[in-house]
């Protein structure tokens, strides 16, 4: 789910950047470092333009200047039970992997409807019910998140497609 979230970030700037363009430097630094990063709980999707930069303070001993930036950003945080769309990245016997934005989710064998079977001899290998549902690398798919775990800078998810209206999206 997407949220608008207020965040704070401390940015250290090298003395060589001190000058009239200092604001734009800070802005760039903020964008390159923060956008797309994952805190483990959520991913920062987009930083909004209105942000507040505190007065700089020179760090004793180094010469770097420290700025505290308050900004608003669109963040994405997955929840258990949420239904998400993603792209299949890898298909194996034990299930398949789905990329849902910054979250990598795995759909295990037990989470796949029993009529969809694994076919290892196909190239590339696929899960299929020998009808219109074919899950192979690159397939767009709708899944429901069953469990989440976060580490420092990444999230793991397990998902299911064993419910109504889940499964490959037929264009």
């Amino acid at each position: 789910m997407f949220f608008l979230y207020e965040l704070e970030k401390t940015i250290q700037l090298h003395p060589s950047y001190f000058g009239p363009l200092i604001r734009s430097h800070i802005h760039r630094e903020l964008l390159t470092k923060e956008e797309g990063s994952n805190t483990g709980k959520y991913t920062i999707v987009c930083i909004l333009d209105s942000f507040e930069i505190s007065d700089g303070q020179v760090v004793p001993g180094t010469g770097y200047a420290e700025y505290i930036v308050h900004y608003k950003a669109v963040v994405w945080r997955p929840f258990r039970g949420e239904i998400v769309d993603g792209v299949v990245t890898s298909v194996i016997r034990a299930g398949f992997f789905v990329d849902c934005g910054s979250l990598q989710a795995f759909v295990g064998r037990g989470m796949i409807p029993s009529e969809i079977k694994f076919d290892a001899n196909a190239t590339p290998p696929q899960w299929t019910d020998n009808a219109e549902q074919v899950i192979e690398k690159g397939t767009q798919i709708r899944i429901k998140i069953k469990g989440l775990r976060s580490e420092m800078d990444r999230m793991y998810g397990v998902a299911t497609m064993k419910e109504d209206y889940l499964g490959p999206l037929v264009a």
């Binding site: 258990r80 890898s90 298909v91 194996i92 016997r93 034990a94 299930g95 992997f97 990598q104 795995f106 759909v107 295990g108 064998r109 037990g110 989470m111 290892a120 001899n121 190239t123 590339p124 290998p125 690398k137 069953k146 469990g147 989440l148 775990r149 580490e151 793991y156 998810g157 397990v158």
Partner: protein, 823 residues
Amino acid sequence: MKIRSPNDLHYPITVVDLSKQPKDSVERFAPLFTYYYESTVTEGNKYGDEKEVKKKFPARFDSSIDGQLVEWYIKGGSVIHGPGIDIVEIEEPCTHETQFGGLCTNCGKDMTEVDYITDERDIDRATVNMTHDNIALLVSQREALQAEEDAKRRLLGVKRLSLIVDLDQTIIHTTCERTVAEWQNDKDNPNYDAVKEVKSFQLADDKLANVAANWYYCKLRPGLKDFLDKVSTMYELHIYTMATRAYAQAVAKIIDPERKYFGDRILSRDENGTDQIKTLHRLFPVNTDMVVVIDDRGDIWHWSDNLIKVRQYNFFLGAGDINASFLPKQTELVTAAAQAAVVEPTKVGRSKDEKPSAETEALSIAAKPTDSTPKTNGAFSELEQQLISMGGGDDPTLLEQQAKEQEKVIISQQTERPLLQKQLLLDQADETSEVEEIAENGDVPAPEHQKQRHSLLHDDDNELEYVEACLRRVHHAFFEEYQRKRTGHQGGRVAELRGEKSPKKRLPDDLGNVPDVKLIMPRMKRAVLQGVSIVFSGIVPLGMDVQYSDIALWAKSFGAHVSTDITKQTTHVVANRSRKTTKVKKAARYPHIKIVTTDWLLESFSRWERASEEPHIIEVDPAEHGPHGASAGGSPFEDLEDGPLLSAEDDDPVITGDESNEGDDGEADEEVKLDMSDEKWQSLGEEFQDFMDEEGDSGEESETDSESVRSDSSTQNRRKRKRSTESAESSEAEDSDGSVSSAAGTKLQKKKKRALERTTSLSNVVTADKSSGLPSPDTTGPDEGQGDEDNGNGFVDDIDDDGAALEAELMAEFERESDEEDL
């Protein structure tokens, strides 16, 4: 799951009451039963008296898992005396067999949670990683077994085996030098034909600090397309490389654009778990009966029985394996230089210099810091990981160092461009030879003649054809045996089926008939060089155990016997064409010993059949046997005497490990020092040669004279030494005691002794024979040694007669020799 009595209770405990009945559902933390235990406590009363009292304490046992209670193994009143006793069986709704990133893929629960009640961590239930491209997905042992059986059945159904293919230097060769691109654009370049097929690519996530987007130039091994086409009908192909994932995928895109050969079965360093070795258990954790590996390096596979080692593909000379920096350094054979010599004599000097330098180590993609941490991989036991890290592999500082080194090398490759340099050198050589030609012929060369430049790169490798043939043979042998086994069991199985065996029970039986590649392949390979006994000479670098050198291990895997000294059993001496070592010369005297180059071995290895020795024979000129030997008419006594004398002339700058065995330890403590320049030495050598010629003529008579003088005493000594395994020093002392010399010059005498010792250690047949398990006295070896020594005495006595000048010469010789050996 059974719950057993845990370690941390106060045993013995007595069960009071069971709180749950079979078929009850049990939640985590729910009480299962109550019990009491007894303990002594110190109690005081109001008067300050203290006494020890035995008391009963009631307590509660909580369930550590969810599920339905199946069966109790205890009842009210039973006493549990210690840990490890079955208490209750609880059936879990989910056994967490497959886990992804610490989450069970079936129930979505977090497996990493640990609390006071946790008996066994859930995360330990699934520890096997058998996915090619993911390290977060782990499965349990049972699940892995099942997956593998499925895969096996599927492969047997389509009559295929699994083949693991290495990339770098096995089926492709990659360099980063942009000279290649320039050559590709220059149609006039002599290398144009060779490089025009080279594919190039860039890696997006290549983030070396100082090197911007880096181009990789990838040359496919000739015939690769054909090879993959044919082999993929017999094998399911996997890529297993020590390169990064991005690199592996880029290469896979080049060699398999439609992804029909490899699919997604690509395993790279990022998923391997260790940088040091490759192991089949990473992909096939339970069973490797149907797996064949092709790789150019045997050491990282620990010379597994599944391995077919192929000849290194070295197209861009000097580039080496660009992804090998994290592997243990490969010991470079002296052969490598020799091979280059065959191809292009003009650059031997350079390639010899360059081989050990950083260039072979080569450039690669920056080390990702995550690589240094050992990943959770069930296939590696703790011990193994530890062993690996003990070898220095996981040392972070070392890794950093390696990464830095790579960076340095990448820059040097881009700036120095060894290929270009080599080509320039080659061109220069061509020019000079042309100039010489002009000078010789006195003619003006034709204009097109001038344009003729030698090309540096040669696209003439045909190894893949042989590899394919070998793979075909293995495939054939495997399924032939499988068929035979199956039909053999058919009767039994039919009978079984008549009974009420379910098909499920039959299936494992079916797989029981699967033959083992690990048995079939070695059997086929061992037949290749059966009965061949090899001595390496001038091949294995100094300071290396010959028996454990790559080439020796390789030869052994083909059934050859490798020994360090020439014995009666020796059938082949493998040597360098350019270097006539003592062993080669010695072997040349026996017509049954074939002296061959390593090419013979390599050809046999790659074809899996004993190649004809003819094209690889090293001709040893009879004149080189030494004039003495030649004049003596080939009697073994006479011949072996040449050993010490010739070894002195054999002023070889490179001493190799296999040669150094010949030296005697006792020679290290040389007392006499003679300052000899090379020129002096040479003139002395000539003089000595002259003398030798003379001596050869008068050899017969002088021998008979001298034999009487000392032969008795010294042969005695010799025998003693043979029996005892004492050090050289002590035996030397014995020597000087035993032989009452006629001459006064004791120093020279010592030298002579050493010379004798050297001779015998050279033809140290006794020990070698013992090792081969044959009775030694019958062999000709000891006799030769003896006779040789007798002659030696005779010969040295002659020198005594000849005067002081010769004495000096001899000393100088020995001096020089010992110096060399000290190196």
